[in-house]
């Protein structure tokens, strides 16, 4: 990975983190609409995977979708405006946090239904295969989704058709409050890949370099027509399940242990120590991101609300007002 690429990936991770931190502040100090599920701690997964994708490749996401959206290259101003339910939001205020999407960059949507994006990613992979242009599709989902029937049906279907899909399981240990080991007997969800006859790979989801390398191979396989891979990234969410959820089901010590392996801090150290990036350049990136986030908030604040009749506009295609 060259220096420019590495700095670019670092910037994406910082964009996600700062976006989430700003959002937490906004929810704490203002009357923001709806709720949110935050991605802090899992940034290396979205960024490490999406580094291998172009806007013509597709991803589907989860209820915890801000990070995937930003990693895939969505306009942060439009993402922030959607959090404010403004008409300039990427979903024009009709979707909010749980349905954040930007089709212009191949981000097919966060999803309020656990595991529902997995079959849809398979379908996007079907389009890629039928059209034969070498594009691929990635499904992001959590450990909880791996116990949904939709996961099983979609992975099996993609396997049997050798679709160009990568199934990325972000095992962040808890499905809401429930430790994943209380919901399955397996230590590794990727072991389930064997049941579908596809490769299963387990990686440290806190280390961007490791995720990046493993995702590169999985995406290569998909592009080369070798079929899907189940890539499990062991990670951890630093925030509660949803807005201000207090995480009474886990210990502070456990959280602090994981935070010692903060993916952004880890990669920052690597940039300094191993890639020889001067700290001033890193700080410059961080300041730039701060300004991008502040600007996105200003943009959202100044944007108009949806018009009163906007709910009529997109129920059916062909009937847009």
């Amino acid at each position: 990975m060259d220096k420019a690429t590495a700095l670019g990936l670092y910037r994406k991770m910082v964009e996600i983190r700062r976006f989430e931190e700003k959002l937490y502040h906004l929810f704490s100090t203002r009357d923001m609409p709806g709720s949110m599920h935050q991605y802090n701690g899992e940034e290396a997964v979205a960024v490490g995977v999406c580094a291998h994708l172009s806007p013509a490749d597709y991803i589907t996401s989860t209820h915890r979708g801000h990070g995937h959206c930003i990693a895939k290259g969505a306009d942060i101003r439009a993402v922030m405006a959607e959090m404010f339910a403004k008409s300039t939001g990427c979903c024009r205020g009709m979707g909010g946090s749980m349905h954040i999407a930007d089709f212009s960059v191949g981000m097919l949507g966060a999803n309020g239904i656990v595991a529902a994006g997995i079959p849809i990613a398979g379908g996007a992979g079907l389009t890629c295969q039928v059209q034969g242009k070498g594009h691929v599709s990635v499904a992001f989902f959590g450990d909880g989704a791996a116990n949904e029937g939709a996961f099983h049906e979609a992975v099996n279907l993609a396997a049997v058709w050798r679709l160009p899909v990568v199934f990325v399981c972000e095992n962040n240990v808890y499905g809401f409050s429930t430790h994943y080991r209380r919901t399955m007997l397996l230590e590794n969800i990727a072991d389930r890949a064997a049941a579908y006859g596809i490769p299963g790979v387990v990686v440290d989801g806190m280390d961007l370099r490791i995720v990046h390398a493993a995702a590169g191979e999985a995406v290569r396989r998909a592009r080369d027509g070798e079929g899907p891979t189940l890539l499990e990234c062991k990670t951890y969410r630093f925030m509660g399940h949803s807005r201000f959820e207090p995480s009474s089901y886990r210990t502070k010590k456990e959280l602090e242990e994981w935070k010692k392996r903060d993916p952004i801090a880890l990669f920052r150290s690597a940039l300094l120590a191993e890639a020889g990036v001067p700290e001033a350049e890193i700080v410059q990136v961080e300041r730039t991101v701060d300004e991008v986030i502040e600007e996105s908030v200003r943009f959202a604040e100044q944007s108009p609300d949806p018009a009163p009749g906007d709910w009529r506009r997109w129920i059916f295609a062909g009937e847009d007002a």
């Binding site: 589907t60 949507g109 999803n111 529902a116 079959p119 389009t127 039928v130 129920i315 847009d320």
Partner: protein, 352 residues
């Protein structure tokens, strides 16, 4: 060549649409090698190859989900669900995903997906006999189509495939007219009258949202779909011998619903019977009755009557199945009851 069965009409619609648009693909259980449980896709694997005509695992959520994702990214999938009862296994992908995607994403995406499914009771008991159109009428974002003739089936399926929205396309098993690979007739359409109009080969479209008056009449309006439409036509023949001229309207699509054709008819006849093969509560007939009650109450000379399945699963025993389904005779009796009216008014009313 004229296509005299719905199976042939549907197959020809698929052929014509797949010939004109390479983005149309077919997904479903047993549709490729076997040709479909009701033979609709017979021969299409040989004609279009396995990239475009795909047998699937028995995974309804996975199949529909693949259709949703493919539709969102540039294909026009036509998914066959072997029995409409199995749609229950795919409800999230249909109702939470396909139906809402465009809306939730603020118009960024189209979902040009067709889901075909057979409906109707044919002696297979409660899990293979339902008519579930109303489930999907209740979910905004889905169109709901239900042809009852070869002509309508072909023109409506072509329109459904070209539509940029998810379309639920229902087909009544007893109207298919196909036969099984063993040659045993799966359905019987011999008793149907001239209204069972054959389909010509070659392109034509029946637009979604336009009802068809299958029989004109002045005394009472009968609205019905599917097999029940044909039973209603038989009922109209019987009633005509009693001097009662029934107008029989086939909505053809339940979403969008051609309210104006129904309302205009009721304003002329002053009486309404709605017959459908789904269950009574919150059913197809309930919705049509409610629209007429709201929009044309003062034109009515008698209470609206619904002829639907009582709120029961479909029983297996043939006699019981027959008893709970709308039959020609129950439609006749429902019409007679509206003709009696509270004041015994003569037929031909309808003035406000």
């Amino acid at each position: 060549m004229e296509l005299r069965t719905i199976v042939l009409a549907l197959r020809q619609a698929l052929v014509e649409e797949m010939d004109r648009d390479s983005s149309v693909i077919l997904l479903g259980e047993d549709i490729a090698v076997f040709g479909g449980a009701y033979r609709v896709t017979e021969g299409l694997l040989a004609r279009y190859g396995e990239s475009r005509v795909r047998d699937t695992p028995i995974s309804e959520a996975g199949i529909v989900g693949a259709g949703v994702g493919a539709a969102m990214t540039g294909l026009r999938p036509v998914v066959e669900i072997q029995f409409n009862d199995f749609l229950a296994c795919a409800m999230d992908q249909i109702c939470n995903q396909a139906a809402k995607m465009r809306f939730m994403m603020g118009g960024q995406v189209k979902v040009p997906l067709v889901i075909r499914a057979p409906v109707g009771a044919t002696g297979r008991a409660a899990q293979h006999s339902q008519s579930l159109e109303a489930w999907f009428m209740h979910t905004p974002g889905l169109k709901v189509v239900f042809p009852c003739t070869p002509y309508d089936a072909k023109g409506l399926l072509a329109s459904a495939i070209r539509d940029d929205n998810p379309v639920m396309f229902f087909e009544h098993k007893l109207l298919y007219g196909g036969s099984s690979p063993g040659g045993k007739a799966k359905t019987a359409v011999d008793g149907l009258g001239e209204a069972f109009r054959a389909a010509p080969e070659g392109e034509y479209l029946v637009p979604l949202g336009v009802a068809d008056i299958k029989r004109a009449g002045r005394d009472v309006t009968i609205v019905a779909t599917g097999l029940t439409l044909h039973k209603s036509l038989s009922a109209a023949d019987i009633l005509a011998r009693e001097g009662i001229e029934a107008e029989v309207i086939d909505p053809r699509t339940l979403v969008p619903l051609d309210r104006e054709t129904i309302l205009a008819s009721v304003r002329r006849t002053g009486r309404l019977v709605v017959a459908s093969e789904d269950q009574l509560t919150c059913g197809v007939a309930s919705e049509i009755a409610a629209i007429v009650a709201e929009e044309a109450l003062w034109y009515l000379d008698a209470p609206i009557r619904r002829v639907s399945v009582p709120d029961t699963p479909i029983p297996f025993a043939p006699g019981l199945e027959h008893a709970v389904l709308p039959q020609t005779q129950t439609i006749v009796e429902a019409v007679r009851s509206t003709m009696a009216g509270p004041a015994g008014r003569a037929p031909g009313g309808g003035t406000p």
